[in-house]
């Protein structure tokens, strides 16, 4: 104990690594995380966690990692991601996260641009991506792989190192230099770069935002301890499912920072495909999702209800209408129940809401948040109606995700909430751009001072690139990304994301891309959701073979036309979609149509489907799609 105390005294800077160490000392036997292995959720205690982190730290030291060196992690969410991240932070290295879906050229760009010295890759798939471009990566010294299958005894590249051997190197180093990690950790300074978060980059290559230890600590005070993202603040009884990519700042906050600072128990989903099943098992108390996830869960509920037995269908249809009314009331009261909604909810809880929430894994959710992209208010209202306390929050990598959030009881649908206490946020009078200034504003883009200069001005204001406006003087509503605003040939400014989200609120629409910049009228490319439309087609006995075939069925086009017409009613004439085309394929990250966070790359899309786009402007609108 005396050694730990002595270390404590020397450590002046609190980092997420010291937080883990302190938890391991105070509550060694409490569960820190779980990961499913052969059907059993294996538990990791804080003592185990810290043991692994120190081993990784020693191993990194043994491999010659100096302060400021970059350590890249290319893996799905799993225990080793956190061990590597924290181990790197402990030895003052910089963690760089790569998306598991990054194709090889992007991996090459990210690794070479960041100049990573060590790469921790999950399996053969990710190792292959790095080995393919190894000659372009002079800085890369070691590739540590977690899953030996297909690599061990097959690959003889001298840079490869199996995770267990890597830990053994760490153990040997610890025997030789006990306390080396503690010593390095105690030298940490608040302005150390802690992590590079590469933004997905809908235009141009990804940029690496440098977040410092001070940024992250500020984020922890605002978002975790002050309840900015979970109110009341999270504690060690809260349970969380980690399923979104950890290289994204949002999941990093909820998984790593929530865990380190509040002791929230993290459970790793088996994969993004099993999220719904994992949610049911874990029943988290705090749930963060991107719009795509919420839309997908809603669509799943609708499909399953549609195929339920008649009695169940009748009952749930009735109670969903009640939920809709409750949602309407809650949207008006900021999320506070009135006596009437409370009574209706109590009865509905018995008939539908409790079992429904149980099935979608949200029975114990006390705080749900949506962020990282705009979402249709109708989707949020559904979840509020069935009793999931849903809050839209807003932030971006460059300000450590500290900007605004809806607070319980003061929710305004369609807005991203109020600025957090003690930060500066203003909306530029001329451009309408949202600007923030606080200690969470990042250090700059890695090896890209021009971009940094464009993002942060001389007064320290971060230009978010989002256009917004005040609602009732307290809440912020985001209109769109500045560069996405469409100016039609008629000179009208249109925010496409609002129209797109209204379309995507339907369970049948997966992608909607509004086009119309310098064009006489708006048009759209629409991609269907294969599951729901497939189910819809089956119930109507419409035969189909592939995604493309289904998309081009006249019945499906008619269905989408109906949706478009209904959405058009809500918008002014200049903002209406006059014609649309169906996307012939599902958009994909690997094909360069989506970013790693599943955002549409508009430029790439209009280039790829140029003939589709042009065809919409050759024939006069009103003609059949």
């Amino acid at each position: 104990m005396s050694v730990a105390e002595a270390t404590d005294a020397r450590t002046r800077t609190t980092t997420i690594a010291t937080r883990i160490r302190d938890r391991a000392r105070d509550t060694p036997r409490t569960v820190a995380m779980r990961e499913k292995d052969f059907g059993i959720w294996q538990e990791v205690t804080w003592a185990d966690y810290w043991e692994q982190v120190t081993l990784v730290g020693h191993a990194l030291l043994a491999l010659g990692v100096e302060p400021g060196d970059r350590v890249a992690v290319h893996s799905e969410n799993r225990r080793e991601w956190l061990y590597s991240d924290l181990g790197a932070v402990a030895v003052r290295a910089v963690t760089v996260g790569l998306y598991p879906t990054n194709p090889a050229p992007e991996v090459a760009y990210l690794l070479s641009h960041s100049g990573s010295k060590i790469l921790i890759a999950e399996d053969q798939e990710q190792v292959d991506k790095a080995l393919d471009v190894l000659d372009q990566l002079p800085d890369l010294e070691r590739v540590v792989y977690l899953e030996p299958r297909g690599i061990r005894r097959r690959y003889d590249n001298p840079k490869l190192l199996y995770w267990q051997d890597f830990l053994a190197v760490g153990a040997a180093h610890r025997d030789e230099h006990p306390g080396a990690v503690d010593e390095r950790m105690s030298q940490a300074r608040p302005d150390d770069v802690m992590t590079l978060v590469y933004t997905s980059g809908t235009t141009g290559p990804p940029k690496g935002a440098m977040l410092s230890i001070a940024n992250v600590e500020f984020a922890i005070t605002k978002l975790v301890e002050a309840g900015g993202f979970t109110s009341p603040p999270p504690n060690d009884r809260d349970i969380l499912l980690s399923y979104l990519p950890l290289c994204h700042v949002a999941e990093r906050i909820f998984t790593t920072w929530f865990n380190a600072s509040a002791g929230v128990q993290v459970n790793f989903a088996e994969s993004i495909a099993t999220v719904q099943a994992d949610l049911r098992e874990i029943q988290p108390t705090i749930l963060f999702g991107v719009p795509r996830i919420w839309e997908k869960i809603l669509a799943g509920v609708n499909i399953k209800l549609a195929s339920a037995s008649p009695g169940k269908r009748l009952l749930s249809r009735f109670w969903l209408r009640v939920a809709d009314r409750i949602g309407d009331t809650l949207a008006g009261t900021g999320g506070n129940h009135t006596l009437k909604t409370r009574l209706w909810y109590a009865v509905g809880w018995l008939f539908l809401f409790r079992p429904l929430r149980d099935r979608i894994g949200m029975r114990k959710v006390r705080y749900a948040a949506s962020g990282a992209a705009p979402i249709a208010p109708d989707v949020l209202k559904f979840f509020m109606g069935v009793g999931v306390p849903m809050h839209e929050v807003y932030g971006m990598t460059e300000n450590s995700a500290i900007a605004t959030g809806n607070r319980p009881g003061r929710v305004k649908l369609g807005t991203v909430g109020e600025p957090h206490d003690g930060i500066e946020l203003r909306i530029d009078e001329q451009t309408g751009e949202i600007l923030t200034r606080h200690p969470g504003v990042f250090l700059g883009y890695w090896r890209n001072p021009e971009a940094t200069a464009r993002a942060v001005d001389a007064d320290g204001w971060l230009h978010t690139g989002d256009v917004g406006e005040w609602v009732d003087g307290t809440h912020v509503k985001i209109t769109d990304r500045m560069k996405d605003i469409i100016i039609t040939a008629g000179g009208k400014n249109v925010a496409p994301s609002e129209i797109e989200n209204a379309l995507k609120a339907s369970e049948f629409v997966k992608e909607a891309v509004v086009i119309g910049d310098r064009r006489p009228y708006l048009s759209a490319l629409i991609g269907i959701e294969l599951d729901t439309v497939g189910d819809w087609a089956q119930r109507r006995r419409i035969p189909y073979t592939t995604y493309r075939d289904l998309s081009e069925r006249p019945e499906v086009i008619e269905l989408v036309q109906g949706l478009v017409n209904r959405v058009n009613e809500r918008f002014a004439s200049a903002e209406q979609i006059k014609t649309f085309r169906m996307l012939p394929k599902e958009l994909d990250h690997e094909d360069g149509e989506l970013t790693a966070t599943q955002k549409v790359k508009r430029a790439a899309l209009s280039e790829r489907f140029a003939d589709l786009v042009e065809s919409m402007y050759r024939t006069p609108p009103g003609g059949r799609a």
Binding site: P28, I40, E281
Partner: protein, 376 residues
């Protein structure tokens, strides 16, 4: 820093989150299940103080039959070896117990060891011994062939029991059933506090609970998984390292042990053994219990046994409602014929419409509510 690992704990309100394998395999893994089983046990133990002796006797017979049905389910349902020889093992158990506990000076063989614990164990062991003798047949034969061969056992047994008058008393005469004495207390005679029926009811209930739990444990252990592998495909099972001989012998031994104990208890309750009763019909009745109750389930075996045992009680009421049905065995349409027809119809009906038996009906019912508000 190595700290003793805490025992994996279940998280409250998350029945599907398993943090250890033991938890995954727990019998009563949810609070509602624990409460329901407790309630069921309380009701079962309260019944003897509610019902009259006549009804209790019937229920007790049902419990004893349930032990036998569980036994048949071990070999047929879990291990997939169809056997028609169950009546033979019931007989072995009944005669072992009767002979051990019988009056040494009586008309038939008797050793006067009337302690229940002793003769029950002996009945099970002797039956299991014969089971082991028969088991090698199962390693050579499969499906229908095994059924035919085990059918032969029933006829062999019938013949031996009819001829061996010192033991059985001979056809049409029979002998007395086993004498149950536990802690100096004769269980089939009225005592100070309880009637004979009440005492036997409680004893059989306790035995049924013990045997049922043992069977459930067998089914969820390594042995149970080996049985299931053999049932699903014996060749595949042997390829993955399941010793067919070993496990088939084990299945027959366990099954006949259950049958022996069941036989001993059944004839303690009726108090009389007629050697002609161990015929094909008895085997078929047990097959019916398993099929109607649910193949490969313990609770199904119990449901099936109770159903088949209580069925005659219901059909005997028929003449009251339908005057054209007679309770006279010599009448053209009588309740006994109806009973036989009903067995047949029920087996056909269950096989066609609910192959998982009464247990399947329960599962269907449970899933309807479990999947609420969806259908799957």
């Amino acid at each position: 820093m190595t700290v003793a690992r805490p025992r994996p704990r279940q998280l409250a309100g998350r029945p599907e989150l398993y943090t250890s394998y033991a938890q995954h395999l727990r019998l009563l893994n949810t609070t509602p299940k624990r409460r329901a089983v407790l309630a069921l046990a309380v009701v079962a133990f309260a019944l003897p103080f509610v019902y009259d002796d006549q009804t209790l006797r019937l229920l007790t017979l049902g419990f004893a039959a349930a032990i036998g049905a569980i036994g048949l389910n071990i070999v047929t349902g879990y291990a997939g070896q169809v056997t028609l020889g169950h009546a033979f093992f019931l007989a072995i158990g009944a005669y072992t117990a009767a002979a051990l506990s019988g009056d040494p000076d009586g008309r038939t063989i008797g050793f006067g060891v009337s302690n229940v614990a002793v003769w029950l164990l002996a009945a099970g062991l002797v039956a299991a011994f014969f089971g082991v003798l028969v088991a090698p047949l199962a390693t050579r034969l499969r499906g229908l062939y095994l059924a035919i061969v085990t059918l032969g056992l029933v006829f062999l047994g019938e013949h031996v029991f009819k001829e061996w008058e010192e033991l059985t008393g001979g056809p049409g005469v029979g002998r007395e059933g086993p004498v149950p004495v536990l802690f100096g207390n004769q269980l089939n005679a009225p005592g100070d506090m309880f009637t004979g029926e009440q005492k036997l009811y409680l004893l059989t209930l306790v035995l049924l609970v013990v045997f049922a739990v043992l069977a459930r444990n067998l089914a969820r252990s390594k042995v149970g998984r080996a049985f299931a592998a053999i049932r699903d495909r014996d060749v595949a099972a042997s390829v993955i390292g399941v010793s067919l001989t070993h496990y088939k012998v084990l299945a027959f031994a366990a099954s006949s042990f259950y049958a022996g104990c069941a036989g001993a208890m059944l004839y303690t309750i009726t108090g009389f053994i007629e050697p002609g009763s161990f015929n094909l019909l008895l085997s078929v009745q047990y097959i019916a219990m398993v099929l109607i109750g649910g193949v490969g389930t313990v609770s199904g075996s119990i449901m099936g046994a109770m159903f088949i045992t209580l069925l005659p009680r219901v059909t005997r009421e028929l003449p009251g409602f339908a005057p054209f049905v007679s309770s006279d065995a010599s009448a053209p349409l009588n309740v006994f014929q109806i009973e036989t027809v009903l067995y047949g119809l029920l087996i056909i009906g269950f096989l066609l419409f609910e192959p998982r038996g009464l247990y399947g009906v329960w599962i269907r019912l449970r899933n309807y509510w479990k999947s609420w508000p969806f259908s799957y």
